[in-house]
Symmetry: C2
Subunit: 286 residues, 2 copies
Amino acid sequence: MMLGGIEAGGTKFVLAVGTSPDSVLARHVIPTHDPATTLAEAAAWFAGRGIGALGIGCFGPVELDPRSERWGFITTTPKPGWADCDVAGYMAAALGVPVGFDTDVNAAALAEHRAAGGGAGSLAYLTIGTGIGGGLVLEGRPVHGIAHPEVGHIYPRRHPQDVDFAGVCPHHGDCLEGLAAGPAILARWGASLSDLPEDHPGHAIIADYVAQACHLLFATTAVGEVVIGGGVAQTPGLARRVAARARELDAGYLPGGARHAVIRPRLGGDSGIVGALLLAQGTAGA
Amino acid sequence: MMLGGIEAGGTKFVLAVGTSPDSVLARHVIPTHDPATTLAEAAAWFAGRGIGALGIGCFGPVELDPRSERWGFITTTPKPGWADCDVAGYMAAALGVPVGFDTDVNAAALAEHRAAGGGAGSLAYLTIGTGIGGGLVLEGRPVHGIAHPEVGHIYPRRHPQDVDFAGVCPHHGDCLEGLAAGPAILARWGASLSDLPEDHPGHAIIADYVAQACHLLFATTAVGEVVIGGGVAQTPGLARRVAARARELDAGYLPGGARHAVIRPRLGGDSGIVGALLLAQGTAGA
């Protein structure tokens, strides 16, 4: 069966069709405008390609409770026009196919879990870019809980060389996203992390915050690895610094800790769209 | 079938038999001595009671990987004599019945999940006593990951009125357990939390640390509730203070947050032993 996938992000939608998550036959990227324009453009690209199921890994917050009338909606996003948007319902109606739907980061986590060998493995996928979000696959299953994880909004300890910056999260000020996402880096140092000189303290500061998130994911969920993706995570050396700092925070204590890893995505930039195709496959098989 | 359960703690073992997790017919408590004495005493109590399966909720760290030769062992505990102790294997050999085995806090989380209605619900059980530990049931399943959660060893932000205390965790100093478990409270203020006057700043300080743990459990795992048990959690007013502080930390942001709850155990002090009987039931049915 031909599968369709959408990696629905706040700045762009990545569309793909393939006969399996590994076999992408065509791919297309459109900018994220208002919902009516963007969703219509996406539906038009899929029309006539004969897909039998569609998977959507979506920016959020989203509604994932299958018992809810708002399943498949983006709910309370500050992004203009997108709050209360029925993304899954629109695409299902436009294309007449079953739709699988999850967060963008859960889709990426599913794809990375499969790339790591699948089975009962446990990992987290953390994206560090314009915002910070996390997806979880525990013992082979994506985690939703009563909604979905929002790992970007935990409160790391302030780094001793970063005590004056108030943080840029409109909700929490100096939560992880408010301290370590791209806009927070730009606000403090006027450049992206990869553009800062190698000896700039920003590298250790951001690595410390991300490492605290990795440590608490290891401690609270016992994942074996945290995969860090997104634009900021592409900074050379960051994953290595984060891994070293997370080991310091653990101090050899956590059970299974010797196997803890902080790594870059096995699928490079494709985790999200491969995850969307996996969601399509899961829906088609359901 | 008659079920046996052991809530294996560092200071006492609670033993029980019952025809179901709700129907305890007999119960017995023994102090935790060295493993040989304690396990023999436990086995002797069960002998002749006709149990068909045994469940053990055990202090840890423990090995939970069913593929490991050390499944059912306590692994690296500092408690004298108990490191590398084959708890499940001893009891299986002594009683000749199948043994279900998990952490004490996962057992308690399972029991509280069932008491809350069961099904696909998600909750965390946090015990705050001599140490701090957490169990997780997500969408109806206990979480093991590659080992098991150790929520006590995350690093909360220091409270502004508690900046000088170094913390008492031998591994991490001022991690959650090093700041908010019973020994840390005693070290700072010379009394248990429930013995401090109502206007003592310790109440707000400990509530803040526990609330940070609740917030990060809500944020990372999207549980609907955190059940707080253990001796410190019996302090009048603590659960209410923690719930209020966790709401402040969320600031109305997290998806599903309106349904977040911090509560005392529905089963009172019985969560652990009921959970052990549930583990027995699960093994008997497997």
